[in-house]
């Protein structure tokens, strides 16, 4: 009874929350549409549709509004055909529909040519880098964090150094990583590991310390000790919080991705973005950046849902 009452209250909240969440995405989109489709808002450029008598104008050329006005005046004076154009935004601000098209084309009709990477292939490469970087970091960081948090001695021994090391900016190790690990994926994974690992140890050690001591004491009076205590009480006890920490840390790993991919030979989504920017295909650039956001946000959403399934006893998972 109490559960159902509580449940209904939470439902209404959930609906309101979803509504607000959608709104929080629609609002910036609305601003973007306004800037893109309402010519009076910004549109500092003119897109030439007919060069008229101006010899250096070409179709699809973007010129400054002032310059276009001057040329119109010039042509009027010299009685030549007037150039025609429509107000437009700078090249680096494509309209939502352009980006949507680029997004669609990027995934559905990726280019066949080999010198320009396709978006899915680039993304897949990036995801792999993140995966390996985060996996390696976690394989070291999670056990070390748990042990540091459980045994004061271990914590005191390694945490001061880690505390120091985490202030060293991970990208600064780029050159070193290339020298040691070559120019391909090795150094990129290393940067992600360096960027994540040290925070991970400290955060997880802290989480472990927050486990109620009476739980450990209860387990000890029930005959659990040493490693058994670690595996039967400490780890399950912190698991929901550990899971949440890992979600946050995975987000951090993504923020290191772009820097990591610039090291050695550029690769992955970063290379795709820099290439497209070089050809001034800014619609593709935006599509790629958004895809990173969608993947990151989507993964977190899925992991959050999964967390509620995995830890039915953890009341705090519900509140997210």
């Amino acid at each position: 009874m109490i559960f159902s009452l509580f449940g209904r209250g939470a439902d209404i909240d959930a609906r309101k929350r979803t509504f607000l969440a959608i709104g929080s995405f629609l609002l910036p989109l609305l601003v973007w549409c306004l800037v893109s489709y309402a010519p009076f808002v910004w549109h500092p450029k003119v897109l030439v549709t007919d060069p008229g008598g101006v010899d250096y104008f070409q179709v699809d050329m973007l010129v400054d509004k002032a310059m276009f006005k001057d040329e119109v005046a010039n042509m009027e004076q010299s009685h030549l055909a007037l150039p025609v154009g429509r107000p437009s935004n700078p090249i680096y601000l494509p309209a939502p529909d352009d980006v949507a098209k680029a997004f669609y084309n990027g995934f559905v009709h990726p280019p066949k040519s080999t010198d320009v990477p396709s978006m899915p292939a680039s993304l897949w490469h990036s995801v792999q880098i993140i995966f390996w970087g985060f996996l390696i970091s976690s394989l070291i960081g999670v056990p070390l964090g748990i042990v540091s948090g459980t045994y004061n001695l271990v914590g005191r021994l390694n945490e001061p150094f880690i505390e120091f090391f985490r202030y060293l900016p991970a990208p600064a190790f780029g050159a070193l990583a290339v020298a040691i690990l070559g120019i391909y994926d090795g150094p990129k994974i290393a940067i992600i590991v360096i960027g994540t690992l040290f925070q991970q140890v400290l955060i997880i050690a802290n989480t472990t310390r927050k486990l109620e001591t009476t739980l450990i004491e209860a387990a000890r009076t029930l005959g659990s000790k040493n490693l058994k205590l670690l595996s039967t009480v400490v780890v399950p006890g912190i698991l929901p919080d550990l899971y949440r920490d890992q979600r946050i840390l995975l987000g951090w790993a993504w923020t290191y991705l772009i820097v990591a991919e610039l090291i050695g030979t550029s690769s992955g989504i970063t290379w795709f973005i820099t290439q497209q920017a070089r050809y001034q295909h800014f619609d593709n650039v935006y599509a790629a950046i958004m895809t990173i956001g969608i993947i990151g946000f989507g993964t977190d959403l899925v992991l959050g849902r999964l967390g509620r399934r995995l830890f039915p006893w953890d009341r705090t998972q519900d509140r997210q």
Binding site: E217, A218, A219, T221, L222, G223, T232, G237, W313
Partner: protein, 305 residues
Amino acid sequence: MNLIEPMLPSYLDQSDEVRARFERIRQREVILEVRKLGKRYRSPQGEIEALRGIDFSVRRREFVCVIGPSGCGKSTLIRILAGLDKHTSGEALLDGKPITGPGQDRGMVFQGYSLFPWLTVKKNVMFGPRMKGEGHDQAERDAKLWLELVGLEKFADAYPHQLSGGMRQRVAIARALVNQPRILLMDEPFGALDAQTRAKMQTHLIDIWKNIDVTVLFITHDLDEAIYLADRILVLKAHPGEVQEVIEVPVPRPRTPGQFNSPEFRATKARLEALIHPAPEPLPEDEQAVKPHMIRFTDVHDNVE
């Protein structure tokens, strides 16, 4: 109505029946022996002597309550006996062997339940047997048996957070008893429960104790609870924690809530009150520092009393 309060008997007077019962208890072997036990804590504010020269023993299937003002070292004492803290002087023997650390021969029930939230009720109870090395099936059989004993077999697959406080404490009791400890140590186990649930749990605990070969050391700060449950009451005083008196409760068994008004009960309670709340005495320093200074935040004429 009886306007003239009849003279209470002395708490030391025992009926023949009660005296015979204590005689029988004294025939039993000593399970727990505490000799000159002392505990000092080192803290940034200097050394704190939490316990000094504690002497007492508990016999098999005796129910002993420990009572005393806040900060007198009740928890410290029980934690030392559970093996969770180390004493700094004296010794504590269980069945003649010194206590050096936690062990399955002692079960502990905490005030805050401290059930494992990630385990179902049944798995919580299975924890001890599993640690002992029992197989899953055997542990499960044991757990079911003890859950039945505390009346929670229907909640075997629930998680602790789905249970009420009283139910949680029942699980904690089952979890401690499933290991069949020699002594059950309980640190204010019913302190967080409402009066009604608390009364139910007290009766239930006596029922369990009657039917199982277990000795109970029970900490409380509720005088009624101590008298209702205990054979003997160990009264501690604070700063430093010392044994003030060991009282043999003259209230006959079986105990019923109706006895709360019996002369023996009231005599014992009067004695406990005299011991624990003596004539006002200067507060210990740390509590002297806490002095509320009342300021009026409402209209002068807006009185509630």
